[in-house]
């Protein structure tokens, strides 16, 4: 497995659009060629080597290529966009759109992520060890076609609109989420181990949402159908007792979505 190490050397006074940082683009290129790949900084295109010191060569294929970003890059956007295979390890925090449109392979972010991680993702694994801002795995603004496959794991907290409009794939949030988690989904699985504020599953027409903590303001339009214990979705386990709801009956009026809420933390429901 070939390893390419990108060491940030810029102050990133402007954010950069770095969708070229994928194993697919790096495969078959040596360090010098990789450094010549162009990224947008404001209105101009500049070589990647203006921003990173590049060490190591890409492998023969995306599958054989690992990219290590050795530092904090919260102002570098679109890392791993649409990648199909290989690995990216970020030893710090990333900017917006990490792993957007991702189709395969694996991205591990040791720090935090800005908004839109895994936007409209189709496959692969995106793991963020810290927290994330808004729109995890969701659809682009204006669209309701979010993530369709793959898995996103956020160990910490996430912001608003987690999994907005997803129709497949799995999102696991280790901590809390803010508003509009799982709004408009019609498939897929969202597991939130911590708390949520409000509008969980609003307008959902399919898919499954699990909230292990407390929902501050429960969404009207859901009806309890059962109580279940110790949920298991393949390798994702949710211990404890859960109230099972069907919904959203309010606007789409279909009730084909499933919402599990921790019984212990939501006694009033």
């Amino acid at each position: 497995m070939a390893e390419v190490i990108l060491k940030p050397t810029s102050k990133f006074e402007l954010t950069i659009e770095a969708e070229v940082i994928t194993p697919d683009n790096f495969a078959g290129k040596n360090a010098q060629e990789i450094g010549k790949l162009l990224v947008w900084e404001g209105a101009q295109q500049l070589p990647l080597s203006n921003f990173f010191e590049v060490k190591g060569n890409g492998g023969s294929s995306a599958q054989d290529t690992t990219i290590v970003i050795d530092g904090n890059v919260p102002r570098v956007k679109r890392i791993g966009e649409a990648m199909t295979a290989g690995r990216i390890l970020v030893k710090g925090s990333t900017g917006m759109h990490v792993g957007a449109f991702m189709q395969g392979g694996e991205i591990l972010v040791e720090g935090n992520s800005d908004s839109w991680p895994g936007m409209e993702m189709k496959g692969g694994l995106l793991h963020i060890k810290g927290n994330s801002l808004d729109h995890v795995g969701s659809a682009y603004r204006g669209s309701w076609k979010g993530m369709t496959g793959g898995r996103i794991v956020i160990d910490g907290n996430a912001g608003n609109q987690v999994g907005g409009g997803i129709s497949g794939g799995e999102i696991v949030i280790g901590g809390d989420v803010a508003n509009f988690c799982g709004t408009r989904i019609n498939g897929g699985l969202i597991v939130v181990k911590g708390n949520a504020i409000r509008t969980v599953g609003a307008e959902m027409t399919g898919g499954t949402i699990v909230v292990g903590g407390r929902i501050e303001k429960f969404t009207p339009g859901f009806q309890q159908t059962a109580t279940e214990s110790n949920l298991k979705f393949n390798d994702i386990e949710c211990p404890g007792e859960f109230k099972k709801f069907a919904g959203d009956y309010a606007i789409p009026q279909k009730g084909k979505g499933v919402l599990y809420v921790s019984a212990e933390n939501n006694e009033d429901l």
């Binding site: 659809a139 682009y140 603004r141 204006g142 669209s143 606007i251 789409p252």
Partner: protein
């Protein structure tokens, strides 16, 4: 010399001159087609070797939604339409984005790349005319004009009810000059006004609320007024009940209404290019996006094509011309002056939507829509759009459109041309889409394959003739505008089963020439030409106009804008080009 060019040895298709693939040269001097260039002129002129290529007049789209308030609502409500379809700027072009609702710049460039040089905006609400002109002025590459939406106008409904035809005529002529628009558009007559009260009309003899006029009154009234005033184009009709199963019958019955009205276009300041075919329209009604008006069945369950009911009527009558409103599958943005139709689509799809009531004039609505091959209804609509064009025996009665972006964006025209020219292309599409396409339409059994000459008719010659522009557009006759499209398609070697080559050729014209200048070449914009904006300048009896203006001022208390801010001044138009008309009133 600017605008002077010699196009040598191409296979020329100029249906208005009955030139059908003849190998010949086309000469343009100072932006106009001429018989020949002198030796001295030839020395300076640009020369294009078009041997082995197809040469047609520049494309003319007589019905497209490209400018104005509702197009802009489409842009604003659809960020997701923009982020995957964009173009960078070049030294001479602006950047732009938008797939089904492109920015004005991108829209102009994309049309030009396909060989189009003239596009008419299909619906201009009077109050939004200024906005529409601002966008048309900013749209590069194209000569343009717009149709004024008058089918639910308070003043006209009142005059029609009172039988005051003279005032109605004075009003229309004044409105055309005031808003610098070209023709009369009639959308869901009487129904959009009812939508202000949450209702619609569903029959031609159903009177609407308050004004108590029926769709039949309005269609008949506007068609008569259109000929009384001598417009270059027939009244442009979007029939009632659009988009509802079974609507084909009301559409056919609507077409019967203007049957005995004689076309009398009376423009008098234009010089006509030489043509062999009579370039004047003889139709008294131009039906738009027939496919959406031709739904059969009684519900979505027994939905089927009702196209044949309409094309049978069109084939046996000569007062109707229509455009198709094809559905090429994929993303679209539905936008129309038919507010209630958009609400019905919202109920059906649950998509985001927008609706507007344009005060005393009309309404509109916008909704994103995706036509899916595996959806039974959508796949029938795909077949229906092609049926419209293939079932009409005389190509001079039909025009190819997608009602862009309603059936799909105009950039899909090359794909539609391929389906029209190649039965194999259609059969391959049948294999990919829902079986209803074959079961609920007659398209699978239709073996007609359009010739390049027929394509030239439905994509330029007839569009120009229908709207009265064949004095300068849609033909390469001497005196016509030097607008030419050269496609990399050799008619002698053409195998229509290789339909991908047809799509490629029409997607990016080898050359698009406007006013004798090459403006785009193989998909690249190489020149930004001057552009014109057409409108109808109709002279009527001054006394009648004075009396009518009193009425308008009196009812202007119902408007939210001041009377003096109502008109669109000339400065909002790029090269305003009035078509002067002497009305009979």
């Amino acid at each position: 010399m600017a605008g002077t060019i010699a196009i040598k040895n191409g296979y020329v298709f100029d249906p208005l001159n009955e030139i059908n693939g003849e190998r010949m040269d086309i000469f343009i001097r100072n932006g106009k087609v001429v018989t020949e260039l002198s030796a001295a002129e030839l020395k300076d002129a640009k020369e294009i070797d078009a041997s082995g290529k197809t040469v047609m007049p520049g494309g003319v789209d007589s019905h497209s939604h490209v400018a104005g308030a509702k197009v802009n609502v489409g842009r604003m409500m659809r960020p997701e339409d923009h982020y995957k379809f964009y173009q960078k700027k070049t030294p001479i072009t602006h950047s732009g984005c938008g797939y089904s609702v492109p920015s004005v710049y991108l829209g102009g460039y994309e049309y030009s790349k396909m060989g189009y040089t003239t596009v008419f905006e299909a619906a201009v609400p009077p109050m939004e005319a200024r906005h529409t002109h601002e966008e048309m002025r900013a749209t590069p590459m194209l000569d343009m004009g717009g149709y004024l939406v008058l089918g639910n106008n308070w003043f006209l409904m009142r005059y029609l009810k009172e039988g005051d035809i003279e005032k109605a005529a004075a009003y229309i002529s004044w409105m055309m000059r005031t808003h610098k628009t070209y023709g009369i558009k009639c959308v869901n007559p009487a129904g959009v006004e009812n939508w202000g009260w949450g209702e619609n009309v569903h029959a031609l003899d159903q009177a609407n609320i308050h004004f108590e006029v029926t769709p039949e009154d309005i269609i008949k009234g506007l068609a008569e007024l259109n000929e009384m005033l001598g417009f270059s184009m027939p009244v442009h009709l979007h029939a009632n009940n659009l988009g509802h199963p079974g609507c084909w019958e009301i559409t056919r019955d609507s077409l019967k209404i203007p049957k005995n009205i004689k076309a009398r276009p009376k423009d008098h300041n234009v010089e006509w290019a030489e043509t062999k075919v009579n370039p004047r329209r003889h139709e008294s009604v131009y039906l738009t996006h027939c496919q959406f008006n031709a739904f059969g069945g009684t519900s979505w369950r027994d939905f089927e094509s009702g196209v044949k009911g309409i094309t049978d009527y069109v084939n046996s009558h000569d007062h109707v011309v229509m455009d198709s409103g094809c559905v090429p599958f994929g993303d679209a943005t539905v936008m129309t002056g038919d507010g209630p139709a958009i609400h019905d689509l919202y109920v059906l799809t649950g998509n985001k939507w927008s609706n507007t009531d344009v005060e005393c004039e009309c309404g509109s609505g916008v909704l994103p829509f995706t036509y899916l091959k595996n959806n039974p209804v959508h796949s029938v609509q795909w077949a229906m759009g092609l049926e419209v064009l293939l079932y009409v025996k005389d190509a001079w009665k039909s025009i190819m459109t997608t009602d862009s972006p309603n059936g799909g964006p105009f950039i899909k025209y090359p794909q539609i041309i391929a389906w029209l020219m190649s039965n194999k292309a259609r059969q391959d599409a049948f294999n990919e889409c829902h079986k209803w396409a074959a079961d609920r339409s007659g398209l699978a059994a239709e073996t007609r394959e359009m010739t390049l000459n027929e394509i030239a008719i439905v994509t330029r010659a007839n569009a120009a003739r229908t709207i009265g522009l064949s004095h300068s557009k849609g033909t390469l006759g001497v005196g016509a505008d030097g607008d030419v499209a050269i496609y990399d398609l050799d008619p002698v070697k053409l195998e229509v089963s290789d339909y991908e080559s047809i799509i490629r050729a029409f997607e990016n014209a080898a050359y698009t020439i406007k006013g004798g200048e090459v403006v785009s070449q193989k998909g690249e914009i190489v020149g930004i030409p001057e552009k014109k904006t057409y409108y109808s300048d109709i002279a009527v009896n001054a006394d009648e106009e004075k009396k009518m203006i009193e009425d308008v001022k009196n009812w202007f208390k119902y408007y939210t804008i001041g009377f003096s801010n109502y008109p669109t001044p000339d400065k909002y138009l790029a090269n305003p080009t009035p078509i002067k008309i002497d009305a009979e009133v």
